[in-house]
Amino acid sequence: MAEIVFLVTKIPCNSVTKRQDQTLNVRVNFTYKGPAKTGRLGAVVTQQTILTEFDEIGSTRKEVAINLPAATTGTQNLATDIIGLPLAGCKPKSGYGIKVYVLDLDGKPESGCLNILTVTEGALTPELNITSLTVS
C-alpha cells in the first residue's frame, strides 16, 4: 500500500547498480482517469538528507511528454519510459532514490522510492604502460 511522506507517495521499485558513466532508464507504470490530455512526466535521482528524504540531484533530471487518452468510465493502466537519466553528477555510493512527478496536470503528484540505486565509479580509463623493451 502506498504511504505518503512529505507529499511524495512511496511506490514499489526494483534496485539497480549503475556506473557513473552509464545512464538510468525508468519505466513508469501509472493509472489515469479523465479526459484526453497532454502532460509531462519527469524523473530525477534523489538522496536522503537531514531535511528531506527526496533531495533532488538536478543534473539527473529528465522529462518526457505524455499523451493521456480519455478514460471517463474507469481508470486505465499506462506505462511510459523515461530513458537516459545521466548519472555523471552522482558520487559513487549506495542509497540513492528516485522520484517521478507529473507536470501540466492539476496539482503536482510526486511518487518515489528510497535506497534503490547504487552508483559505482565509471569505467577505468584505458592505460597502457610499457614495462620493458627487448632489442634484437
Binding site: Y32, K33, G34, L68
Partner: protein
C-alpha cells in the same frame, strides 16, 4: 470610414466551438490600423453569456483585457469561462487602455467577427497515479 472599421482585427487563433468550464482558452490575433488614430489599439474580448430567456440588455457581459505585443501588432487574450453555457466572444479595439472596463469599451475602433463557444460543465476530475517503477 466608420469608427469601428479604423482598426482591422485579424484573429489568428480563434476559440474552439466547444469548451469546458474552468479551462483557459487563448485568443490570438493581430490589430492593424487603417488610419491615423494615435496610440496603438488596446484590445478587449467582450464576453456575453447567452441565455435564451434573458433579453440582450440583461445578459451577463464581461470584458477580458488583451495583452498587446509591441511593434508586431499581435495580441493574446485569455478566456476562462467559469460556468457552462453558450458564450459569444467578440474582440474589440480601442485607442486608449481602460484599466477596468466594467461598463464597456468606448470608443470601439475595431471589431472582429463574433466567436460562439458552447461551454460544458467541467469534465470529471483528472486523476493520475503512479503505481510502480522499473529501473534498468
Amino acid at each position: 470610414m466608420a469608427l469601428e472599421d479604423m482598426i482591422k482585427i485579424e484573429i489568428t487563433k480563434p476559440l474552439p466551438e466547444t469548451g469546458e468550464a474552468g479551462i483557459v482558452y487563448k485568443i490570438e490575433g493581430k490589430a492593424k490600423m487603417f488610419g491615423p488614430i494615435g496610440a496603438f489599439p488596446w484590445v478587449y474580448a467582450e464576453v456575453k453569456k447567452k441565455e435564451w430567456y434573458k433579453p440582450e440588455i440583461l445578459e451577463e457581459t464581461s470584458f477580458e483585457r488583451g495583452f498587446p505585443i509591441p511593434v508586431t501588432g499581435s495580441f493574446t487574450i485569455d478566456f476562462k469561462p467559469e460556468k457552462a453555457g453558450i458564450y459569444e466572444v467578440t474582440v474589440l479595439a480601442t485607442p486608449a487602455p481602460l484599466s477596468f472596463p466594467v461598463v464597456g469599451v468606448f470608443p470601439v475602433t475595431g471589431k472582429a467577427d463574433m466567436m460562439k463557444v458552447a461551454v460544458g460543465a467541467p469534465v470529471e476530475e483528472k486523476v493520475i497515479q503512479v503505481e510502480s517503477l522499473i529501473l534498468s
